[in-house]
Amino acid sequence: MGKISKYVILDLIRNRIVLSYLVVLLAISFSLFNLDSNPVKGILGLLNISLLIVPLVSIIFGTIYYYNSAEFIELLLTMPIKRKQIIISVYAGLAVALSVAVLLGMGIPILIYSPNATGLTLLIVSIALTWVFVSIAMLASVLTRDKAKGIGVVILLWLYFGLIYDGLLLLILFTFSDYPMEKSMVALSALNPIDLGRIYILLQLDISAIMGYTGAIYRDFLGSSIGMVFAFAMLFVWIIIPLLLCIRRFNRKDI
């Protein structure tokens, strides 16, 4: 399995888009930290990068890479190797390459300006979101045959998780404001990996009360440490489930 991943990574570290991603992350991170003398503000700025840009790049690049590799994946499928191994290797190669870009692009500035638990948490969440959204990208690409349609679907998915979902959550909250909603809110936010990432970081920053409703609920309801464990476990589920569905579909797919 590592065999294919190795060459996917070799291919990707010389890919122009991955290199530009790394450079852009570096530029944004350094400028955010230099805007204000307080590194916590820099971290909060980076939080938005990590919650919106990282998922966007991961899901779109993952999808495009899969479609561009379609002929090569077809050739690999004619080799004496199981389908499952091929798809997992391509996934792992993609996720590792993009994680390295995040690790360097955000990690170096964080190491310089905010080398503490908060900075580390932000980095972990960014990498976890990379794995989640590459996993979703693989599922979407395996399910749709047409490249343009596949890319359209993943952009819609990103809009949904990044922007629309929070609006829907607020709508539900207002509609049922007469009822106790805490438990269901915890459950509902677990259905969005970006929300989970946000909650995880805000619990760590300990300013959850001023940063959104679900964060406050997690803190009140679960307490910081259990809340963080729960949020992280759910992020892990978000990596595994789309990947398992993707493998299942890929195993039976006519190429």
């Binding site: 070799l10 291919d11 010389r14 002929e71 050739l75 004496p80």
Partner: protein, 240 residues
């Protein structure tokens, strides 16, 4: 070597393969011919396990291929379009395939690589190669591991006349070594000298599977192109 029985595959309402039964033997070079959409590619993909048939069985060298991937170590395949990861070098690509086939240390066939001069450009990345050169890389990969079965899908389509000729010589040489070679092509003149058997398909049906001599006798034509044309005409007359 390959026994196909009652193979049927439908894509929705379209019948791509309709009850196809065949027996392919070693030491033959078999041309798979038919109009566009006749099921040739689906047939090849079924052999390679890329497409899972609805009905029927394929037995490769005594083992049923369903759920099996090991048998593919005995097949070399050259696809119609060769696209590879853009930023890896030719040498790295070959290493990758060696890794996947676990074939390090086994005897390899470098004849075609040398004929095409790929050994002199092994440090070039795939992105910088022309379409024809990529096609040559595909061809070399199909022969590299000395597989007993070689499947070529439109092999000469993107090649210049000299390279196409060199590939045909290679195909003939491998056939004479007792390998089973399966080729699809629309360029019938390319197939003329290298074919020993012809499979003709139409609308998912296997119309005939004959040796080239039999076909020549039946149609009274010497050239494969003319023989096939006469078969197609006869079919058209039957339909009307």
């Amino acid at each position: 070597m390959i026994e196909v029985e009652n193979l049927t595959k439908k894509f929705g309402k379209l019948v791509a393969l309709n009850n196809v039964s065949l027996s392919l033997k070693n030491g033959q070079s078999i041309s798979l011919i038919g109009p566009n959409g006749s099921g040739k590619t689906t047939f090849i993909k079924s052999l390679l396990g890329l497409v899972v048939a609805d009905k029927g069985t394929i037995v490769f060298d005594g083992t049923n291929i369903v759920g099996n991937s090991d048998y593919r170590s005995k097949i070399g395949y050259m696809p119609q379009i060769g696209r590879f990861p853009e930023n890896i070098r030719i040498e790295q690509l070959f290493d990758m395939i060696r890794d996947i086939r676990k074939s390090h240390g086994l005897k390899e066939d470098h004849e075609l690589i040398e004929t095409y001069g790929l050994d002199k450009m092994k440090d070039k990345t795939m992105r910088t190669l022309s379409g024809g050169t990529r096609q040559k890389v595909s061809a070399c990969l199909a022969f590299l591991f000395n597989p007993p079965v070689i499947i070529l899908d439109e092999p000469t389509a993107g090649l210049d006349p000299l390279s196409a000729e060199q590939l045909k010589e290679k195909i003939l040489a491998e056939k004479n070594k007792g390998k089973l070679i399966l080729i699809t092509s629309h360029i019938l003149s390319d197939l003329d000298e290298i074919t020993s058997e012809v499979i003709y398909m139409q609308d998912g049906d296997l119309l005939f599977h004959k040796s080239i001599d039999e076909l020549r006798n039946d149609t009274g034509e010497e050239k494969l192109a003319r023989a096939i044309a006469s078969v197609m005409k006869k079919n058209a007359a039957l339909v009307n």
